[in-house]
């Protein structure tokens, strides 16, 4: 541990996040699921969505970009659960429909949860893991303000739109977690490089004219490059159809930015599919998955999705986590209205 870092146990970190959110005007009910997700991100080594994101949450509650006291409304019919997040945080909206989703999937073999009028869902894989831990296969989608142009174009049409898969291990856990965005890198990578005054590799972003650039500032004014060219854009479109078109949420081309105080609530959406493997012929899914992932693990140098997060988690559960001291201080200052 260095002077620049603050160490927390996972419990301390979750409490710290929860209390900061409540001090900033979020209801305790809404703060709880968000604080848990923040803790989980730090635990899994995804610092960008841990405490480092909390100042943005606080600022967005303060400026009305997200309603910390929103009460999501839930409807259930057949295999479909719909939630209107009422411009509140995504996490409590998802939690509001979660048990109904699980019950419907167990009853009918497949069910879905559609969330609209929502906000940034944080780490999408977090939600996929939660569904998988209930013994159900999870496929999850969330959309974001447009940042990726179509193949051959230069105006953004879809966001970095991730898709996540969670596979149940049959013992209350998640055996395989895949969580991948449609872009080559996250937009936050460009911001990081811009702040550090470093150039970016060509292939990450295009400038506003649609030309390749190694200048992160130019990239931020332009568009993010999709992973795998037109297929990455296609993946982003698939996510957009689920998270925005099926739910009735705002399209990425119309959504206000996830950063900064302007534009009001983004009102983006999430879509979750939950499937009971025993209903579809997949009763042996856990042991058969081991054969599949064993074919990856058996190759030296090969890594399967989620491996890095699992390593980080193992360490965090033993030793807690270290968070940048300036991030912790910034949250304390915000809570005490010093900023």
């Amino acid at each position: 541990m260095t002077d620049h870092m603050t160490r927390f146990t996972l419990e301390e970190l979750e409490t710290f996040a929860h209390d900061a959110l409540v001090s900033g005007g979020t209801s305790a009910e809404n703060a709880a699921p968000l604080a848990h997700a923040i803790m989980a991100a730090e635990r899994d080594g995804i610092a960008s969505h841990g405490l480092a994101y909390l100042p943005t949450y606080l600022e967005h509650v303060a400026c009305g970009k997200v309603d910390g006291r929103a009460k999501p409304t839930v409807l259930a019919a057949g295999g479909v659960i719909t939630v209107d997040a009422a411009t509140g945080f995504a996490h409590p909206a998802i939690s509001a429909g979660f048990n109904l989703l699980v019950d419907a999937a167990r009853a009918g073999g497949i069910a879905c949860l559609a969330v609209k009028n929502s906000y940034n869902a944080g780490v999408l894989g977090y939600h996929a893991e939660r569904i998988a831990s209930a013994g159900l296969l999870a496929l999850c989608f969330t959309n974001a303000p447009a940042s990726i142009a179509p193949f051959g174009g230069n105006k953004a049409v879809v966001g970095t739109n991730p898709m996540a898969l969670g596979v149940p291990d049959g013992q209350g856990g998640c055996a395989l977690l895949i969580d991948q965005s449609s872009s080559v890198v996250a937009k936050s990578e460009l911001i990081k490089h811009a702040r550090a005054g470093r150039s970016i590799p060509v292939g990450w972003a295009l400038d506003a004219a649609g030309q390749p650039t190694d200048d992160p500032e130019a990239g931020l004014k332009g568009t993010m490059l999709p992973s795998g060219g037109y297929k990455g854009f296609g993946a982003g479109l698939i996510v957009e159809v689920f998270a925005a078109l099926l739910t009735g949420a705002t399209l990425g081309i119309d959504a206000s930015p996830f950063s900064g105080p302007n534009g009001g609530p983004p009102k983006t959406g999430q879509f979750f599919i939950a499937i009971d493997p025993c209903a579809t012929g997949g009763a042996q899914i856990a042991s058969r998955l081991q054969r599949l992932t064993g074919a990856i693990d058996g190759q030296s140098g090969a890594r399967k999705p989620g491996d890095r997060a699992l390593l980080a988690r193992r360490a965090s559960l033993n030793e807690g986590v270290e968070v940048r001291a300036d991030v912790v201080q910034k949250i304390k200052d915000l809570v005490e209205n010093r900023i």
Copy 2:
């Protein structure tokens, strides 16, 4: 039209394919849905899955790799339809569960169709379009013999495993069709280049030692590169989980090849999800999709997925299609047992 090409109306082509399949030992009931898919592939300019594939189908019926007279068995419970293709063609197995899938999705808002003990599903988007034309959002998966290695590895773990999305236009048609494999290019591209004695671009395939190669023969002995690196492999894994693990079908690492007479039936699988947009908050899906695709169409040089197939289809509906005369002759020879 040149001497090397034979012109068909779409009806003639479907009848030709149907009669060839029946002459080769496939039941009329099983030949009908496959012949329709072959016609649709030619109509949409996807010659690789048109009549050019028919000799393989005939050879595979002859050697027992696919049972042309299989009778798929169907079970329905809640939102889940399962079909055992009984080592027959995928198309009749999918058709056997199709109406039940549509009915279940309309009743419960979401439903799925899981097919096992199946065979190559041909153009996956064909099935997605069929579901979308019933007014339902379609997400489809099919697995294939392993050909893509994990990031950092050199042994194949997943197939070129495509994923397809179909969005209903609300008027009995499909407004957007995305159909993309997990590899940079299809394996058939390597075969084409090998036959023509041409090198392939570096980035398409790795040789057996896991090194980049421009030799298509070396690539065919090695692995296909995933589109977008580890994210393409991740997409292939997602497809494998749905098409093989959820259905109880054979994993790509255990499946016999889709080409050649050896190894018996591949017993691979398909998984289809059908969702009623009106049940999930997407009643306005058709008009809102127009706004989304309009943002693509409005950019000169940008193309959205499926555009090329639609152009080909328009021409085919007016003028019929041209098929290589040697392909047509080969089918005639096979039917008359001259090969």
